[in-house]
């Protein structure tokens, strides 16, 4: 596989608006006997909210882990702005401005909200305190993190409380706020509303739309069909390790989509 060429400008396709921001072809991933991805394709276009749906174990999380550098596929190729790219670690994807809320949330429970928000990209004090003594700028991180959380209007007693003292929904809020704050290219959310109440889910959906309006494309994995139909521009249906269909929510009913997802209904592959 070719290695990422960071210096070269993105390929200009004849239809530049239709060059996917992030795409993948033929991704395969085996875990022993289990085939988590079986030739999965993927396309995300600029400025859209793409929902990825599928049964439990269909391979959705594995797909987005490959797209975010957390899993290295056995074969297949990922493209960023049309250019072949290999992520060797989550840090690689992060460097390209791809931020992910993983299903497991990926937070350090004993660290506080601010520490978690800035984990792996801490801000140091200006001047020699930062450059020589590596001192963290705790004030600035606290102030910034407070702003990020306020965007979500989550009620948090103290930003300095350990994440393990938060409710499941609040934890999810921290992970979502972190991704939304730092994404520059793509934001990926793996079931970000799974633990949330009605009001909090609404906040997250609103935030997702705000992010899209900022011009960032969003990948949303969800089992919640009403949510998917409410905000998705396109729906990627995943089944048994690969994409079986892409549909527009306006063109299909929820029950049709569920039928496609479970294999009860066949569709022509690209109905957009």
């Amino acid at each position: 596989m070719p290695s990422p060429e960071r210096g070269t400008p993105p390929q200009v396709a004849d239809q530049s608006a239709r060059t996917p921001v992030l795409s993948a072809q033929g991704l395969v991933k085996h875990y022993g006997q289990v085939v988590a991805m079986d030739g999965a394709d993927f396309d995300l276009f600029p400025g859209e909210i793409l929902a990825v749906i599928g049964d439990n174990g269909a391979g959705k999380s594995t797909l987005i882990k490959a797209l975010s550098g957390a899993v290295i596929p056995d074969s297949g190729q990922i493209f960023l702005n049309g250019e072949a790219i290999n992520f060797r670690s989550p840090l690689d994807a992060r460097r390209y401005g791809i931020e992910t809320v993983h299903q497991s949330l990926a937070v350090a429970p004993a660290l506080n909200i601010v520490d978690n928000m800035f984990l792996g990209r801490e801000i140091r004090r200006p001047g020699p305190l930062g450059s020589v003594f590596r001192m963290l700028d705790k004030k600035k991180m606290l102030a910034d993190a407070t702003v990020y959380m306020q965007d979500l209007k989550f009620r948090i007693q103290s930003m300095q409380q350990a994440v393990e003292t938060l409710s499941g929904g609040q934890r999810q809020g921290v992970a979502v706020a972190r991704a939304a704050a730092f994404a520059r290219n793509v934001i990926i959310l793996d079931e970000p509303t799974a633990a949330l109440g009605v009001k909090e889910s609404g906040m997250v959906l609103e935030l997702i739309q705000k992010v899209r309006d900022r011009g960032l494309p969003v990948i949303l994995i969800s089992h919640n069909m009403p949510h998917v139909f409410e905000i998705a521009d396109r729906i990627h249906i995943h089944r048994m390790g690969k994409r079986t269909a892409i549909v527009r929510p306006q063109a299909y009913s929820m029950s049709d989509v569920v039928a496609i997802m479970t294999g009860a209904l066949e569709v022509n592959k690209q109905s957009n």
Binding site: A70, S89, P90, L91, R94, T100, H102, S104, L105, A106, V107, A108, P109, A110, L111, D115, L119, G120, R121, E122, R124, F133, R134, M135, L136, K138, E164, T165
Partner: protein, 327 residues
């Protein structure tokens, strides 16, 4: 909030108060000091405290590396023997091979650091459990010490024992080694609290997969921690030869368990990701105060072992209960 199980809110609060960094060990230390002060008028003197610190400075220094490792959810059984090897290398090079004594010290520290790095490499590259790896390197270091020297090395050059020398603060003689130990604690505390690397150590110990997903180079953090720990064992070696005035091939055999004891007494969780190096300092001092206090009050020293055992179990119980209270 729902309360599950028999634990009441008040007892949860009490347990999380006790589990807060350094609270329990501080209480234990203060109580011990008060008891011994009322039992012996020789206890509460500057001279006696200086002595206690000198008695614990070697284990205290090894316990710094041990704390970093335990914070990453690891463990190091090899520290005492790595340190013994470092001590023998420093002294034998200087005394028998005529190497410049300062250079010999640096080589000794380097040997310890390299040993730490080997621990780290085996744990990260081969994905082996720290307990097994350091059990192996414990034996290797032990064998290397005996192969290199079977006898104590005496007649050390002055510069190699300078950490054992003292200066007067008022009327109290304080050893340079004790000061160095306190400085190392302060540096480590600063690193853990105020640098990104410190945050990463906690994150790796908390949940390595979450740390990896947030872009922390988990293996590099681990390798650095084991290597830094090795360096503290080298400094511990220098303190040891300075205190005893010999390069002793028998040294360091209990230091692994003693350092783990101090870390646990200090409230650092053996499950990783929680704790504080200042707690370890308190843990080290608790052991030293009990040993010294019981001696002064004429209690047989075996009772110190008994009390240490009870305190260790108490410390682990508090950690375990606080984990339940959080869950």
């Amino acid at each position: 909030m729902t309360t599950t199980g028999p634990m009441s809110t008040a007892s949860r609060r009490f347990i999380s108060f006790l589990a807060a960094p350094a609270v329990s060990p501080l209480i234990a230390l203060v109580i011990a000091v008060i008891i011994f002060a009322t039992q012996s008028d020789r206890f509460l003197t500057g001279r006696n405290f200086s002595l206690i610190v000198q008695q614990v400075m070697v284990v205290g220094t090894l316990a710094i590396g041990q704390t970093l490792i335990i914070l990453t959810a690891g463990i190091d059984l090899s520290n005492g023997l790595i340190s013994a090897l470092g001590g023998v290398v420093m002294t034998k090079l200087a005394v028998a091979s005529g190497v410049n004594p300062v250079l010999a010290i640096l080589i000794g520290i380097l040997v310890c650091t390299a040993f730490g790095a080997v621990n780290g490499l085996l744990i990260t590259r081969l994905n082996l459990p720290p307990f097994i790896v350091t059990l192996g390197t414990l034996n290797i270091a032990f064998a290397l010490v005996r192969i290199y020297s079977t006898q104590s090395i005496t007649g050390l050059p002055d510069v190699q024992t300078s950490l054992g020398e003292t200066f007067l603060l008022g009327t109290t003689a304080i050893s340079y080694g004790s000061i160095l130990m306190f400085i190392l604690y302060l540096i480590t505390w600063y690193m853990l609290q105020n640098t990104a690397f410190g945050r990463h150590i906690y994150a790796v110990g908390n949940d390595p997969e979450a740390a990896r997903l947030t872009g922390i180079p988990v293996n590099r953090v681990l390798l650095t921690v084991y290597t830094l720990a090795g360096a503290t064992y080298g400094i511990g070696a220098l303190m040891l030869i300075a205190r005893t005035g010999v390069g002793d091939p028998q040294a360091g055999q209990d230091a692994n368990l003693e350092s783990i004891t101090a870390v646990v007494l200090g409230g650092t969780s053996l499950f990783g990701g929680r704790g504080n190096v200042m707690g370890t300092l308190l843990g080290v001092l608790i052991v030293g105060v009990f040993r010294n206090g019981l001696q002064l009050t004429g209690v047989p020293s075996i009772y110190q072992v008994l009390i240490t055992g009870i305190l260790v179990i108490l410390a682990v119980a508090i950690d375990q209960l606080s984990r339940k209270a959080r869950a």
